[in-house]
């Protein structure tokens, strides 16, 4: 019963994070929200008795993927000082 309650809270957390990730306008916040959804999913995998998958999802989904997104957002910022390249 307790396990079911925890799992319900976690699943609601995953769905809310996913909704935030596609709804927010700021791309950095959206990337971090997607990382949060991966983190809650890693805890759900532990409840579902799959520890290998939980470890992989925590390390790759909410660590490396978020950092790759943030690096590429940084490289594509339109700051006002740079001229856009010629078409």
């Amino acid at each position: 019963m307790m396990l079911l309650l925890i799992s319900t809270v976690l699943c609601i957390g995953i769905i809310v994070s996913a909704l935030l990730a596609v709804h927010l306008g700021n791309t950095v916040s959206a990337a971090i929200s997607a990382g949060m959804a991966s983190l809650f999913a890693a805890i759900i995998y532990l409840v579902l008795a799959a520890p290998d998958v939980a470890m992989t999802e925590a390390a790759i989904g909410s660590g490396l993927t978020t950092v790759i997104f943030l690096y590429s957002i940084r490289r594509t910022l339109t700051d006002g000082t740079k001229e856009p390249p010629e078409k």
Partner: protein, 228 residues
């Protein structure tokens, strides 16, 4: 307006299909025959305590080889797309040096993270873990190094050498399994040892060491290429 209506219609139709899949779903109560065979004869035939590792490395070893190949292709693709073309020089941004707190913490934490990663993939056949998890933890350590000191450059010679040797070693172990034991990537050409020891399960630790090093170095190279 039309575009929004189309998107909504597509999502409603897909939602209806998914609903049909969920409503009639009855969770099974016993293992299906293939899983039963893997769980029952995995520890006896292969000597591994972690059955997911046994499935990934020996029973479905060819799929893992394909996955390592896909990861290699994607890393090569990232390296190709983001290479520095002639005439472009590196962007020189004024970066603040990181604070001393971060630098000291990194010097303390980085060896611990590397030891944790190596522990995870060496003990892949006994405890939860394995090559992919250990490689991801190694890449996270490198990521911490890149975040803390933005001017670090990895030594490309060592990274390329490790990656090539690991990939090649993985295929060599597979061929050794073909020559000396039952088939490609069979782990029984080395002695199976006692169940539960570190040096048991034949060639399975060796395969996982190669996979862990390859995945770790490959993801670190991808991270460094995407940084700038």
């Amino acid at each position: 307006m039309i575009k929004r209506a189309t998107i909504l219609l597509t999502l409603v139709l897909l939602g209806f299909l998914f609903l049909q899949m969920v409503v009639g779903y009855v969770p099974s109560s016993t293992l299906n025959p293939i899983s039963r065979h893997y769980v029952a004869s995995g520890p006896d035939e292969l000597g591994a305590a972690n059955i997911v590792t046994a499935v990934l490395v020996t029973y479905r070893g060819l799929d893992t080889l394909g996955e390592v190949a896909v990861l290699f292709i994607s890393a090569a693709g990232v390296g190709l797309m983001l290479r520095r073309r002639t005439g472009e020089k590196a962007e020189e941004k004024q970066r603040r040096p990181s604070s001393e707190l971060v630098g000291t913490a990194i010097h303390f934490l980085l060896p611990l993270i590397f030891v944790l990663g190596i522990y995870i993939f060496i003990n892949g056949h006994l405890t939860p873990g394995g090559g992919f998890q250990g490689g991801a933890v190694l890449a996270s350590g490198i990521m911490l190094l890149l975040l803390a000191d933005p001017d670090t450059h990895l030594n490309h010679t060592i990274v390329h050498l490790l990656e090539s040797v690991s990939g090649f070693g993985y295929v060599v172990v597979g061929v050794l399994g073909l020559v000396f034991a039952g088939g490609f990537l069979d782990n029984r050409f080395l002695d199976l040892g006692t169940f539960g020891e570190l040096f048991s399960a034949g060639a399975m630790p060796i395969i996982y060491v190669f996979i862990g090093l390859k995945v770790g170095t490959e993801l670190s190279a991808v991270l460094e290429r995407m940084k700038d």
